[in-house]
Symmetry: C2
DNA sequence: CCCATCCGCATACGCTCCGTATGCCAATTG
DNA sequence: CAATTGGCATACGGAGCGTATGCGGATGGG
């Protein structure tokens, strides 16, 4: 019945993160009572303060978990693309698709920035943007993308457009149709990064 | 000494908005105590509840004020551009410049969305995006911008990129240099909207 | 000019939530 | 088996918020 202590500890951490993620993703960070969601995990605030310091610390843990999931999925999808440019485009569109989840929008796009500040400065949640920037750098080296751009900067701008894209689709009353429009506009913007006459050399 | 009642009322409304704007823009919405910032305007929460219903209502009023200011400035600058495309680009870069203010970033990009939801659905704060969408529509009609795009959608995506651009510049430790890089990348993205762009792939 | 009404705003109260200090018990260690 | 560590719960004080209530001065009709 009594499992080793390390496992118990890891389990309560996981329970807290899961409960918090559910609460933050539905009613939102500000409305989520620590007493309530710790109780929903059969724990108390005592455990929360012990493991995460405070409510913000717990939010950071939730965000790190989500970011890792998103990065894993993005990398998996991108690895199946035929060309490097296509791979980059696929990364972006997969990102947009994932970000349709209300939980993602709420935690990563709304409450996260409000509580923790500029996402660009989150220490443990930049996997997605990082890999996009890497791909952009390679594409520049290959002459597909215009030279002179800072890859990280470009990736951030695109990330901003992506999150808007997701929000627009998610809040539409006809998501199917809106999705087509939004993704088309998004891809059009990406075209601006391509070298003229030099794109699609593959 | 006793001025008409209407003026007094307008004055307390203005005082509350100004005090809230200062508090929200510096310490942030969540940390701003209603007791504190109403007191700083020599008022109490009673006045706040009477005029704005609650803290969120006051935030809406603050946001409406800021949005109006930004739209006015954007329109003023844009009206001096030689060509329509340049006018559009100027709108965007002016927007980015204004958004460098910490107050704007905090209220419009961070706390606002967290408290009031997707900015695209704010009823009284879409003047900037609206005028950008209008200009895009005109540019499409003139054949400068690729056809088939929904102007409002494109404007939203660009807006997302713009806000990231501002945040990146504002949080840089060398804003001058960063600004050049970011604006260059931003303009490059806008190029994607222009017709006669080679390398279209979809 | 006076009085009744209205309403803008302040005050008072109870509640919820949060952070810290403290305590308890199970698991580890020698 | 005793000692100790530390994971987690409990207890307490304070701050902030929303609502109900009260006050005083401006307003408008007689």
């Amino acid at each position: 019945m009594h499992r080793p202590r390390k496992e118990m500890i890891a389990e309560t951490r996981a329970k807290l993160i899961a409960a918090a993620r559910r609460a933050f993703g539905t009613i939102g960070y500000a409305e989520a009572s620590m007493d309530d969601f710790t109780a929903s995990a059969r724990l108390t605030r005592g455990a929360l303060y012990h493991h995460f310091g405070d409510k913000k610390g717990l939010l950071e843990a939730v965000i790190a978990e989500i970011d890792a999931e998103m990065a894993a999925r993005v990398n998996e999808v991108a690895s199946r693309a035929p060309t490097r440019w296509q791979r980059f485009v696929d990364e972006c569109t997969t990102y947009i698709e994932m970000a349709l989840e209300p939980e993602i929008q709420r935690i990563m796009f709304r409450d996260g920035p409000a509580v923790l500040g500029d996402p660009a400065q989150w220490s443990n949640a930049n996997a997605c943007v990082g890999s996009m920037a890497d791909h952009l750098a390679v594409l520049q080296g290959e002459g597909v993308v215009v030279p002179g751009l800072d890859p990280e900067t470009a990736a951030r701008l695109i990330n901003g457009a992506s999150s808007q894209a997701s929000q627009r689709i998610a809040n539409s009353n006809d998501p199917e149709a809106t999705s087509k429009m939004v993704v088309a506009a998004f891809k059009q913007l990406l075209e601006g990064l391509l070298k003229k006459n030099g794109g699609r050399t593959d």
